[in-house]
C-alpha cells in the first residue's frame, strides 16, 4: 500500500467514495491493482480479455460498494470480486480451473548453454514457464501465497475455498513445480 493510502482506513475511503468523490475510488484502484493483476493475469492470457475483466471487476466493486459490510479488508473484498469474475470468464470459455496439469513436455531451446541455467535469472524464467503450465487456480494460489504473501485465511476469503483445500492445492502445485523443474534438469 502506498503512503497516501495509509492515511485512510477502509471505512474512511468508502465513505469518501459514497459521498461521490470518484478520486477516492482511484486510490482504491491503485491500492488493489497489484492484487487484482496477479489474479487476472494468472488465470487469463489474452490482453484484451484482461482489459475487459479489470474494467468489469472495478465497475462491479464501484457499483456494489454501498453493500460492503467491512467483514473483510476492502482489498480482500475486491480480490474476491476479481476472482469470481475471472472464474466466470473461464467457465464461459469452458476453461477448467483445475485439472489441466500439463506434463513437462517442452525441451530446451536449441543452443542454450546448460551452464547458464544455474544463473538465477534463468531459474526464474524456468519457474515462470512452469508456473504458466499449472492450472489457473494453482497459478493464482501460488501467486497469492508466495508473491503477495497473503495468509491462507485471506486467500480463503478471496477464493471462497476452505483453508484445508487451499493448503492441499498449494502442496500439489509446489510438488508439480518441483518435479517439473527436476525433470527439466534431468533431461539435459
Amino acid at each position: 500500500m502506498s503512503n497516501e493510502s495509509n492515511h485512510f482506513s477502509d471505512k474512511t475511503i468508502v465513505a469518501i467514495i459514497l459521498n461521490g468523490n470518484i478520486q477516492g475510488f482511484a486510490i482504491v484502484v491503485k491500492n488493489t491493482e497489484q492484487l487484482v493483476t496477479q489474479i487476472v493475469r494468472k488465470m487469463t492470457t489474452n490482453e484484451d480479455d484482461q482489459k475487459d475483466l479489470v474494467q468489469d471487476i472495478y465497475l462491479k466493486a464501484y457499483q456494489y460498494l454501498p453493500s460492503f459490510q467491512f467483514k473483510s479488508k476492502l482489498s480482500t473484498w475486491i480480490a474476491n470480486i476479481a476472482y469470481n469474475t475471472t472464474i466466470n470468464y473461464l467457465q464461459k470459455k469452458r476453461i477448467p480451473i483445475i485439472g489441466i496439469e500439463k506434463e513437462n513436455e517442452d525441451k530446451f531451446i536449441e543452443g542454450e548453454n546448460p551452464e547458464l541455467e544455474t544463473i538465477k535469472t534463468e531459474a526464474v524464467e524456468i519457474l515462470n514457464a512452469e508456473i504458466a503450465k499449472l492450472p489457473p487456480l494453482y497459478q493464482t494460489l501460488i501467486t497469492l501465497y508466495h508473491l503477495e504473501e497473503l495468509p491462507n485465511k485471506e486467500i480463503s476469503e478471496i477464493t471462497n475455498l476452505p483453508e484445508g483445500t487451499i493448503k492441499s492445492y498449494l502442496y500439489r502445485a509446489r510438488r508439480i513445480l518441483k518435479d517439473n523443474i527436476n525433470n527439466r534438469y534431468k533431461s539435459e
Partner: protein
C-alpha cells in the same frame, strides 16, 4: 521412519513454514533421497522469493476511472429520462382522470385541490413501489453477476 521416506507435505512444511518434527530431523540426517527432495524444495522456495510481480501494459487506474465516469454520465441521463417520463405518467392521468372522477362520483363537495392531492398522492405511492421493485430487481441481477 527409517524405512519410509518423508512425505512431500512434511518437506514442504519445513521449507515453506519452518516446521520440522523431531523424528523427521533424525530421518533427514541419514537419508540422501529425502535430503535431495528437501534441497529441490529449498531451491524452489528461493526462486519463488525472487519472482517479480507482474503488471499490465495499460494504466488500470485511468482506464477504470474513465469507464466509471462514462457509466455515471449514462446513468444520469437514463435517470433523468426515467423521472421525466414518470412525471408525465403522473400528470397526464391526473389531467384526464380528475374531471371523470368529479362527474362520476358527483364529488363536488370535495375541493378540487384536495382531489388533485389525493390522485397525485396515490400515483406517487404506485410509482414509488414500481421504482422500488425496479431497484430490487437490479440489485438481484448484480448479486447474481457478482
Amino acid at each position: 521412519m527409517k524405512s519410509m521416506h518423508l512425505t512431500d507435505e512434511l518437506l514442504q512444511d519445513y521449507v515453506f513454514t519452518g516446521i520440522l518434527y523431531e523424528n523427521a530431523t533424525k530421518h533427514l540426517a541419514s537419508c540422501d533421497q529425502c535430503i535431495a527432495q528437501l534441497k529441490a524444495y529449498q531451491n524452489l522456495s528461493s526462486t519463488l522469493n525472487t519472482l517479480a510481480v507482474e503488471t499490465f501494459s495499460f494504466n488500470t487506474s485511468s482506464l477504470v476511472i474513465q469507464k466509471i465516469e462514462m457509466r455515471r454520465k449514462k446513468k444520469k441521463i437514463e435517470l433523468n429520462l426515467f423521472y421525466t417520463s414518470l412525471l408525465g405518467l403522473i400528470l397526464v392521468p391526473v389531467y384526464f382522470i380528475l374531471p371523470m372522477i368529479v362527474t362520476a362520483f358527483n364529488v363536488q363537495l370535495i375541493d378540487n385541490a384536495a382531489m388533485v392531492l389525493l390522485v397525485t398522492g396515490t400515483l406517487c405511492v404506485i410509482s414509488f413501489l414500481v421504482i422500488d421493485m425496479f431497484r430490487t430487481q437490479k440489485e438481484k441481477e448484480l448479486k447474481i453477476s457478482l
